[in-house]
């Protein structure tokens, strides 16, 4: 038949389309004048980090260094790490990228290491090391999660103060549920990390607080996901869903909608990274009710603050203009206005020596920052599971499996034992 050849060609074409690994990049180019050294810079957009925020931040650096022009690349979703891998695989690895975990990139020689001299101004210059070298500037600290809560809904449920122990947290959740209020706001959909924040919290209080080097031990094979402490932390998380304190339907809601749901008063507690402060303090989005914050409580009431320091810029080892790429990365990071902007726009805590947040930060930022400072003073800061970097992090591909597992636990699709055994299996496959 006439259409047979057409269909055969069509079949081959669409099949190949499915198999192709690259994605077209969305780029906004700032035209570089003759003589300028151009570098490409991979960014990602979120409700906090809008195109205007990125453009202004880049402009501040290029104004300072007019010999550099920047071609901005925007990741198609918040998952800039996968996009960076696609760009690397297709020979288009960006010269500079932000918040791309160096795991894998560094070992394969795709990223350039920073020298101790280049890192001298950072509070934690060795954070996120891969085989002893730093490939991502340890620019800022994020506490993951802080539990933000709706004071109005707490009052409606007759709760006068945030919980200090895990038992009190469960008691408060029961009171909220009895009043028809969803205790916890979680998300998921295309942003599955939003399903896992409460699990990060229980792992901090029940695993990392006791065994700070748990991940190093997992890499060495001396601990497993199915060990007692991890089972306890996971069971706590799974039970929140089982008790109806987490709405199973929320796992289909993406991150932006989840943030808005909390601001709209659709749940009482929102375990989220401290970057939520940018939305909570935004005059256009600020709710009419008051936001409070507390650290996820432990069984005995001691304080544990899960946090991650890193998230900064990395540079390609094969950048055409490597010195300019490094110069841009360091200048972007150390620029006072950019640091202040990261506080205002993304609620971050810059980990740069001598830096203090601007005086005009919002109330929600201050809540999270004060909790973090207490953790620093009491030496109770732990790793934030699922967010660690470099050799402190999970093996490539495991974070996604872990986030999917969080949804399995929330929906009740798998038991705690099934989920943890499966994670051990995935670890074996990846190692």
């Amino acid at each position: 038949m006439k259409h047979r050849a057409l269909l055969t060609a069509l079949a081959a074409t669409v099949t190949l389309a499915a198999c192709s690994v690259g994605q077209e990049q969305t780029a906004q180019t700032q035209p570089g004048a003759a003589g300028k050294k151009e570098i490409s810079f991979l960014v990602f957009e979120t409700p906090n980090m809008t195109p205007q925020v990125w453009d202004a931040a880049i402009k501040r650096v290029t104004d300072k260094y007019p010999d550099i022009s920047v071609k901005k690349l925007v990741a198609p979703s918040a998952d800039r790490v996968s996009y960076a891998k696609q760009l690397l695989a297709s020979g288009q690895f960006p010269d500079v990228m932000i918040a791309v975990s160096p795991a894998g990139f560094a070992e394969s020689g795709a990223m350039a290491a920073f020298t101790p001299e280049e890192l001298k101004d950072f509070d934690f210059p060795n954070n996120g090391a891969v085989n002893g070298k730093i490939y991502q500037l340890p620019t800022n600290t994020q506490t993951i999660p802080v539990v933000y809560y709706n004071k109005d809904l707490f009052a409606k449920a007759g709760i006068s103060a945030p919980p200090k122990t895990y038992a009190e947290l469960l008691d408060d959740s029961a009171k909220l549920k009895a009043k028809g209020i969803t205790p916890f706001v979680v998300g998921g959909g295309k942003d599955p990390f939003a399903s896992s924040l409460a699990w990060t919290a229980t792992i901090a209080t029940d695993v990392y607080a006791k065994t700070p080097d748990w991940m190093a031990k997992r890499r060495a094979g001396t601990v497993k996901f199915t060990d007692a402490d991890f089972v306890k932390a996971t069971t706590k998380f799974a039970d929140l869903a089982k008790q109806g304190y987490i709405d199973k339907k929320d796992v289909a809601r993406d991150y932006a909608a989840t943030e808005q749901a909390f601001l709209d008063g659709k749940g009482a507690m929102y375990p989220m990274g401290n970057w939520f402060a940018a939305a909570g303090d935004d005059p256009k989005r600020k709710p009419s009710w008051e936001i409070g914050a507390f650290n996820w409580p432990t069984d005995d009431g001691s304080t544990v603050v899960p946090a991650f320091t890193g998230g900064g810029l990395s540079v390609s080892a094969t950048a055409k203009n490597l010195p300019e790429a490094k110069k841009f990365a360091l200048a972007y990071t150390m620029d006072q206005a950019n640091l202040d902007a990261s506080v205002h726009n993304d609620g971050l805590y810059p980990a740069v020596k001598g830096y203090t947040p601007p005086a005009d930060t919002g109330a929600v930022f201050k809540l999270g920052y004060d909790l973090y400072q207490q953790g620093v003073q009491n030496k109770t800061v732990t790793q934030a599971f699922g967010w660690e970097s470099g050799n402190d992090g999970m093996l490539p591909g495991l974070v996604d499996k872990w986030q999917a597992a969080a949804q399995d636990l929330i929906t009740g699709n798998k038991s705690v034992q099934e989920v943890l055994s499966s994670l051990d299996d995935e670890w074996s496959k990846a190692s």
Binding site: M1, H3, L16, A252, Q407
Partner: protein, 314 residues
């Protein structure tokens, strides 16, 4: 009802001349080369070469973050058929494909029959039905994510009708795959309608009139006259739907990210991307892609063969 039209016999001498390979005029060969070579070159570069390269990678343990790359023979293929994640994605893809091949085909045929009339209203309705087809998959996915959200219009309508606990269309692991299949079917429906409409408009009216004179009612006329002549349209729709469903990726990526949970909506195409670009196992992912290619090609070939037998020539 088969209809054969006799063609004028070709003189034997002419047939013999045209079959002699050595007698093709040089001018025609030059024309063929001039017009055909660019197409062949593009096909070779962008279709055949990537398949060959992928196959080459599938015989290695290629991981750009964990060199060196070693030849592993058929080990990746052996592992695939014991990999529960791959087998789950094969099951998910098969269910999705069966639904997406059947639903738009059946609904598209019904709608095309209803729209096979003249008038501005029918023209407008054809445009309406075709619109989803021209929309980007990402746009469609975002719209449907909002529609099927627990607070979205679908569940709001169900609540208004008295359903206290409407389903979690995208959050319930038992429902999410069927919701994705519905969205894909909705988007492909317009394509089926247009192809069936084109087929319906190619059915000679005199055949239906003759059947009518012979006493056939509307149903009898449809099944005995119209339906056999729609066979080419059915072939095109079925093969295109089969391929589209089997390679489904973008809707999954935007709506569910393969979830909720582990692999509940993860198709093979989604799994290829995750394995290759998240877990970095690009040799293994290439083996998945090659198996996917073979399955699609085999399914498309069988479908074509079966459906072509039904086709009639006028």
């Amino acid at each position: 009802m088969a209809v054969d039209v006799k063609t004028t016999p070709v003189p034997a001498s002419a047939t013999l001349r045209s079959r002699r390979p050595g007698r093709i005029p040089a001018e025609r060969l030059r024309s063929f080369a001039a017009f055909g070579a660019p197409g062949l070159l593009i096909y070779a570069c962008f279709v055949l070469a990537p398949i060959a390269i992928s196959f080459g990678y599938s015989l290695t343990n290629h991981n750009p973050f964990n060199p060196p790359t070693k030849f592993v023979g058929l080990e990746n293929y052996r592992l695939l058929f014991t990999d529960s994640e791959f087998l789950t994605s094969l099951r998910v893809t098969t269910i999705l494909t069966v639904i997406v091949v059947i639903v738009p085909n059946v609904a598209g045929l019904g709608i095309a029959v209803l729209l096979d009339r003249k008038g501005w209203l029918y023209n407008a309705l054809r445009t309406v039905f075709f619109t989803p087809m021209v929309l980007s998959s990402v746009v469609v996915s975002i719209v449907w994510t909002r529609m099927l959200d627990d607070e979205g219009p679908v569940n709001q309508a169900l609540r208004a009708l008295g359903v206290d606990q409407p389903p979690g269309w995208l959050s319930d692991p038992r429902l999410a795959l069927y919701s994705i299949a519905t969205i894909l079917s909705w988007q492909m429906l317009g394509f089926c309608v247009v192809v069936y409409l084109a087929g319906l408009q190619g059915v000679p009216t005199e055949l239906a009139e003759a059947a009518s004179i012979d006493g056939a009612g509307p149903m009898r006329r449809f099944w005995s006259v119209t339906w056999p002549l729609l066979a080419p349209a059915l072939t095109i729709n079925t093969v295109v739907l089969l391929i589209s469903a089997f390679k489904a990726f973008d809707h999954i990526q935007v709506i569910t990210h393969g979830g909720p949970g582990t692999g509940t909506t993860a198709t093979i195409a989604y799994n290829v991307l995750q394995t290759g670009l998240v877990a970095n196992r690009q040799g293994y992912a290439s083996a998945m892609a090659i198996v996917m290619l073979v399955i699609i090609a085999a399914a498309a070939a069988v479908t074509l063969r079966v459906l072509n037998r039904r086709e009639v020539n006028l």
